[in-house]
Amino acid sequence: MPPDEGRMATYDFIFDKLGLRDWCDGSGAGENGSSGPMSMADLLGQTTGDAVEVSAWDTPFPSLDNLHDACDAIPQSRDLTTGLESGFLNIKDSLKVVVDPLTQPLSWALNEMLWVMQAVPWWIMIPLLMLITYAVGRSLKLVGLVALCFGFLAFIDYYDYTMQTLAIIFVCAFICVLFGVPIGIAMSRSDRTQRVMIPILDMLQTLPPFVYLIPLIFLFSVTEPKLYGIAIILYAIVPVVRLTDLGIRLVDQDVIEAADAFGMTSRQKLFGVQIPLALPNIMAGVNQTIMMSLAMVVIASLVSAPGLGVLVLRGIRSLELGVGLLSGLGIVLLAIILDRVTKAALARINSSQPK
């Protein structure tokens, strides 16, 4: 007598009524019906020796597992996740052939930037960053803040970590802008593109960042910088795309009409009117993108991204409270600097063209 005989499953009657019993037993029982791992309930049922009576109140939802009990041909939910996994592993190699060369420049860029930012001695690097700050923000107060923050971080020997984090953010934010602005422009020019892109952007924005990391680990080796580079870019590209689209759509229709009435081509309109007038919004998007790359660079230290995130991780892993707090403070300082500098740039653009 097969072990299944004594067990009564709730949904047996469906398959009996539909006359599918043979199909169930035939395809399922022979191959993996009895050999598949048993659930806890099955085991319990076997130990008590008789079938568990199920009252109408406790009728289980017809889920994969419950249907599997009644009919072996139905897969268990466990098979779904393993199926996804093996499916991904199957396409992994062919996916890698395409994605690997495409993303290789990202690895190079990250490696080079990391090397440059650490190779340049501090007495050149810090003044250089101050100079960039002045060029962007035209504010000596801001330059002072930058000097103070980097001075502090270097003083507590976090200089190298800070430079690593900064290098990754520079590269990733630059690539976000490089791709995000054109995508945003495409969205603003076609309602259909916008309809397609918005759910994708929503997904990128709401998916927990750790979820990107899992398939990426399968796809690339953990030693490759592009692994965390891609994760950061996917996470941080959303605001710049959205705000570029919004900014261009918000440009005053009267002004666009005037541009048309004087015979501008659509290219002249885009570069001469729409982008300049959308610039405040685009810059707000760049600001958000930079802040989000900073947030992600900490998480990305789980997959070997260097920088301050590594220290945070060390703080968590070995419960070094001081290291965790100090590196957290470092990240906050970096965030303040990046935010203030990009906001200063935004304010300069705004003051040059008030509406």
Partner: protein, 354 residues
């Protein structure tokens, strides 16, 4: 209208909605705006428009909001494409134009002035003024002199390096006009160009336009909802209502012979003495008459004549044109013409009828 016609509009229809062709059939069979909206959910923008716009003159298209006047002017440079009909500019059907020809039309042959100015906020006044040459690809150096010339002509000398937001509304619209003039086009489209300005500045701008027009003789198409403004500026007046033309012609003629209660209603509220001219109320004769109190020009308005006569209704004037007598004006005729005809003494009654 003996002059040559610059812009001809023939049987122009515009219907907004999903299936304008279907709705067009109904409209051609005589369905009105309200029925079309109620039964077929299409908006009738323009209904069988036929207008000839004389070259070098000002054509004013007047109507209340929703009458389709802004839609009509946008057909002239094809910011809106019609459902059916023809628009001929210098004899060319612009609806058959390719994109390139259309851009050429907009760059060189037609310019536009907007109600909300529509200046580029990120460019200086000078750069805004030089928009048309800059679109052609001319550098700032090459268009600068031309742009400064027109800025000076509209009274904005030395303001070239300001940004539009630093100017007042009236000054911004002067930039708008300078921008249109710098394109050196024959045709100027003005879409409620002065409606957003306060009354005093509006009068200034109207006078500026009249001056410029005397000097340059552009073909101006002017949109307004203000009858006083349209009577002041128009050589040819077109009155629109619900997308069709109620009456068109010389403004004096419309004022004296309103063909519709809607127009009577409009006309009843204005200062006729300021608008009517001697030639419209005089008796046409070249015969000498005895007892003449003086000579007046045929284009003087009645207000100036009343002032001259000191209110004496027994006077009689000789009407002169280019130094020759063209008619005789009795003051009694003048006084009679100041009262609207057609029993529209009660404006409220006319409004109800309209």
């Amino acid at each position: 209208m003996s002059d040559d016609i610059k812009i001809k509009i023939r049987n122009l229809y515009k219907i907004f909605g999903n299936d304008p062709e279907m709705a067009l059939e109904h409209v051609k069979n005589g369905m009105g705006k309200t029925d079309l909206l109620a039964e077929h959910n299409h908006v009738l923008g323009l209904n069988n428009i036929n207008v000839d716009m004389p070259a070098g003159k000002t054509t004013v298209i007047m109507g209340l909001s929703g009458s389709g006047k802004s839609t009509l002017i946008r057909h002239l440079n094809r910011l809106i494409d019609p459902t059916a009909g023809e628009v001929l500019v210098d004899g060319d059907d612009i609806l058959s134009y390719s994109d390139k020809q259309l851009r050429d039309l907009r760059q060189h042959r037609m310019s536009m002035v907007f109600q909300k100015f529509a200046l580029f906020p990120h460019r200086t006044v000078l750069e805004n003024t030089g928009l048309a040459p800059s679109i052609e690809g001319k550098s700032k150096k090459r268009y600068e002199d031309e742009a400064r010339k027109w800025l000076a002509r509209v009274g904005l000398e030395g303001q070239g390096d300001q940004y539009p937001h630093q100017l007042s509304g009236g000054m911004q619209q002067r930039v708008g006009i300078a921008r249109a003039l710098t394109s050196n086009s024959d045709i100027m489209l003005m879409d409620e160009a002065f409606s957003a300005l306060d009354p005093l500045i509006r009068t200034d701008m109207q006078n500026l336009l009249i001056e410029l027009q005397a000097e340059l003789q552009k073909t101006v198409v002017f949109i307004t909802h203000d009858l006083d403004e349209s009577l002041k500026l128009a050589d040819h007046l077109v009155i629109l209502k619900d997308g069709f033309i109620v009456q068109q012609g010389e403004p004096q003629h419309i004022l004296l012979n309103p063909c519709d209660p809607y127009i009577e209603d409009f006309v009843s509220d204005i200062n006729r003495a300021r608008v009517l001219r001697v030639r419209s109320v005089m008796r046409r004769t070249t015969e000498e008459m005895g007892e003449i109190s003086g000579e007046v020009d045929h284009d003087d308005n009645l207000e100036s004549l009343i002032e001259r006569s000191g209110g004496d209704t027994t006077n009689r004037y000789r009407v002169m044109k280019n130094g020759k007598q063209v008619g005789i004006l009795e003051m009694t005729d003048l006084v009679r013409s100041l009262v609207p005809q057609g029993g529209s003494s009660d404006p409220e009654a006319a409004r109800r009828a309209g």
